[in-house]
Amino acid sequence: MSSFFNIITQTLAAAVATVGFSLLFGTPVRYYPFCGLIGGAGWFFYITALPFSSASAATFLSTVIVIFMSRWFAVRKHCPVTIFLISGLIPLVPGNGLYWATYYGVTGELTMAFQTGLEAFKVAVAIVLGIVFVLEIPQKVFTIGNKN
């Protein structure tokens, strides 16, 4: 029950954080709800998948979902995919891993530093793979069922 509550609050926090980042990147205000939705969905799938997989696999999954949704909305709202993509991906960027790698590196625990650094790097690679794969999907897939 408490983990369910955790998932809900964290998803909401991710959605609000994504909207905050949209503002910092100067995204038009009319797209904020979609940015929030995308960021929240990305984090929701990340924390849901995390108990069953590695951090990089969970990141890959949610990157794919974030970019798929970004392209979906980009086609429907007639705007560049960049607008949804950049703020939506921010929650998945390994800022936390960067902190731990630095922390262990400075405090002399080199094994842990290497381990956390490698983990952060793997997460970054997972994001790269997600971006590359989903951006290769032909535009036609996303225009299915698009009325306007």
Binding site: F25, T82, I83, T107
Partner: protein, 261 residues
């Protein structure tokens, strides 16, 4: 207007649109696409462009059309995605034939002048994002409020002192050092509960998300030069953050004998 002058106007319009796109965080393919689309639509068939992450080279000229070339150097700037969206919208209208050359020119000027958010709104947004991030990484309510203030102060520092006074690298080193200092301070005073959550909430505001994402997209699209430059930019910022964080933690270890986690 005579033909040569008209062609020159088209080229300058296209270049201007490209500049606004590139300056505000669009990827290279989009810039090239838009520039050529505008030229073709207004009847300049021979236009050809070469776009890098910090410059646009645009030429035209053939047996029928006048020779003209223009190079525009574009400084790396803070992104404003609403300008990218607006130029994109304008280029759609131009393609649909809804805009004369004069109208398009006026519209572009207006987009270029559209203001960003004032500093306090940006700092508040950074604070809220930082607070939410600390909640996402296991922070409690106390951590949320600490990160809120740390994020606000960090953005204030970056906008008011960092941007006008320091280079990008120094700015990020100082910014992450500030985050670490404030986080350890809050943690030691008992205002914050989890140092990890405080740190993550602060660091994430410095992470080069735009450069990283656009770098990958440029490389994936085959624009290797621009892609590598942007990736290099992102990696440098990552290293700067690590340097700032590491410096303060090492210092704290020396002075207060380690930070118990």
């Amino acid at each position: 207007m005579d033909q040569a002058k008209y062609e020159q106007e088209i080229l300058l319009l296209a270049l201007n649109a490209g500049r606004i796109l590139l300056e505000n965080g669009a990827e290279v393919t989009r810039v090239e696409d838009t520039v050529l689309r505008i030229c073709r639509h207004y009847g300049l068939k021979s236009a050809s462009s070469f776009v890098l992450s910090n410059g646009i080279f645009l030429t035209s000229g053939s047996e029928e059309e006048t020779q003209f070339a223009k190079v525009q150097q574009i400084p790396v700037n803070a992104a404003n995605l609403s300008r990218v969206a607006d130029v994109n919208q304008l280029s759609r209208q131009i393609s649909a034939g809804l805009c004369t050359l004069e109208e398009a020119k006026a519209a572009l000027e207006q987009i270029d002048r559209s203001p960003g958010f004032p500093w306090w709104v940006q700092a508040a947004a950074a604070g809220i994002s930082g607070g939410c991030f600390s909640a996402m990484f296991g922070g409690h309510l106390k951590d949320f409020f600490c990160s809120l203030i740390i994020g606000f102060l960090l953005q204030l520092f970056m906008l008011k002192l960092g941007k006008p006074c320091f280079s990008k690298i120094v700015r990020n080193i100082l910014g992450s050092a500030l985050v670490t200092l404030l986080s350890i301070f809050c943690y030691r005073l008992g205002l914050g509960f989890r140092l990890e959550a405080l740190m993550t909430g602060g660091i994430i505001l410095l992470v080069p998300g735009l450069a990283f994402t656009n770098g990958i997209r440029d490389i994936a699209a085959g624009d290797y030069i621009s892609g590598s430059v942007r990736m290099m930019d992102a990696v440098l910022v990552f290293f700067s953050i690590a340097l700032g964080v590491g410096f303060i933690i090492a210092l704290a270890n020396q002075i207060i004998g380690g930070i118990q986690l």
